[in-house]
Amino acid sequence: AQNKRVTLMLDWFVNPNHGPIIVALQQGYFDEQGLTVKIQEPADPSLPAKLVAANKVDLAISYQTSLTIDVAAKLPLIRASTLISTPLNTMMVLDNGKINTLADLKGKKIGIAIAGNEEAIIGTMLQTAGVNYSDVEIIHVGWALSSALASGKVDAIWGGFRNFESNQLAIEGYPSKAFYPEEHGVPMYDELVVVANADHYDADAIGKFNKAIEKATAYILNHPKKAWTIFVSYSPDTLDNELNQRAWRDTLTRFDLRPAAVDLKRYDEFTQFLFDHKVIPFKPKSGDFVPTL
């Protein structure tokens, strides 16, 4: 039969976080499901969700935090599947003995790449160490997260990925220490989700899509080494480097084994969390934007 064409916009340039998708693509799992997936890479992570909402692309990779915010802002979005079901963001500091606990951050500079939820999450994490959000200086460092930390311009960075920035810093010779939000009062959330347009989504296609990446995820876990070579084969000259290799290793364990699985309670808790910290004006019911397909 004629393949369904699906455009998928990633959240950023292809990187290990997209493992299952790339592998599914390379292995032809999408084809098996009768899908032709076309991948686009944006330069601005906030763009894809908007384009889905505008019904310009079928699927896009976003973050649960953003998704919740977007839905609360009345964007017609739904979560179609989950790619990585644990947080990846971490609070990172240089491992040079200066800062050993979150408490040490009192009065320090924290660099961020604005995502809109900083106050809520950083605030919460600091609270667990008895530090007020107002006791730290928050600076947007945009494109230069890790170099900001490495160069000592800031004492900590929030927004770096535990599987990515940490390795990057290590490679550059700056061993880092990470504080994990889920260990410091922040409810669990899915880092990477796939979103679709609430009004125009094609449940059947999404189902097939999920099947494909589920299969890919399984394959990755079963054959990490092979999977790596397959992943790299997507674009050898840009993907095949040490950083990605390390990141790949650290990401393996975080791919969601059941992309289609829905846990409404989990979503509600996180929505509540954002609402409590006034990130969103009201609480969208998770049932509405996390449909069970």
């Binding site: 009345k74 928050i138 600076i139 230069a144 900001a148």
Partner: protein, 266 residues
């Protein structure tokens, strides 16, 4: 006699007497309205979803509702813009003079200036941050960087195309380089230089905003990112609106001054 070709006339009178402040204020108001109208039309006819292009109404509402926040950030950016302009204009003038006075130096300097223009900020963001930190400095430098090339070019082209007769006269009066520059070349270059300045005041704001993306904890650029991240698009456009107002008012203010200053023609 009946009026003649209105073309040359209007063109002349434009130079002869600068428009009244009052009317230019009125003009300002009119144009703001026009812009809003066009905007509204786009929203309607292209069926823009509000999270991509909010309606002027919504934005104006935000403008009022969040006035305090906006004013605060606008004030920060304003400072950056003005300082940036100051720095950029002086730099531009300075480089132009350098290239003019020390011809050989031009060959070496110019390409570097050009290169400095061709480099997207995100690429050198870490460097900027490393050198300038997250204070106001980085924004001022960005604003300056973005405007100083047009200024340099116009200024340099203006300075070197002085009517030869004037230069001859200066020479027979055995004027020093500096005096010739100060009293002949500079005034003669003003009209061209003016173009440079006009461009500068318009693009300076964007320089400041880009600077704020490099790193900041306040300012309209910062606010925009924040609003965008929180999908408060109307707030982002409110900031955008203020930014545009800056450019426009800066332009017309400068234009008035320049018209008053340059009352002659070569």
């Amino acid at each position: 006699m009946p009026p003649r070709n209105p073309f040359t006339r209007s063109a002349q009178s434009a130079e002869v007497k600068p428009r009244k402040i009052g009317s230019s204020l009125l003009q300002g108001v009119i144009t703001v309205i026009v812009i809003l109208a066009i905007w509204q039309c786009i929203v309607i006819f292209f069926k823009m979803p509000s999270f991509i292009l909010p309606s002027p109404g919504a934005v104006l509402q935000k403008l009022v509702q969040r006035a305090d926040v906006l004013v605060f950030h606008a004030w920060v950016t304003m400072q950056e813009i003005l300082l940036g302009l100051l720095l950029g204009l002086t730099m531009g003038l300075f480089f132009a003079l350098q290239m003019l006075l020390f011809k050989p130096l031009k060959r070496w300097l110019l390409p570097i200036l050009i290169a400095s223009q061709a480099i997207p900020v995100f690429a050198i963001a870490p460097i900027l941050m490393l050198w300038l930190g997250y204070g106001i400095a980085s924004k001022v430098v960005m604003a300056a960087l973005i405007i100083f090339f047009p200024v340099t070019t116009c200024c340099y082209d203006g300075l070197r195309s002085t009517p030869t007769g004037y230069l001859d006269l200066a020479q027979t009066m055995s004027a020093s380089r500096w005096q010739t520059l100060r009293h002949i070349r500079l005034p003669a270059a003003l009209p061209t230089l003016a173009s440079g300045i006009r461009v500068a005041v318009v693009v300076a704001p964007i320089g400041a905003v880009v600077g704020e993306w490099v790193g900041s904890s306040a300012g309209l650029g910062y606010l925009m990112l924040q609003a965008n991240a929180r999908m408060m698009i109307d707030e982002m456009f409110a900031a955008l609106f203020i930014l545009a107002l800056f450019s426009i008012s800066l332009y017309f203010m400068t234009d008035q001054c320049l018209k008053r200053a340059i009352h002659w023609r070569l």
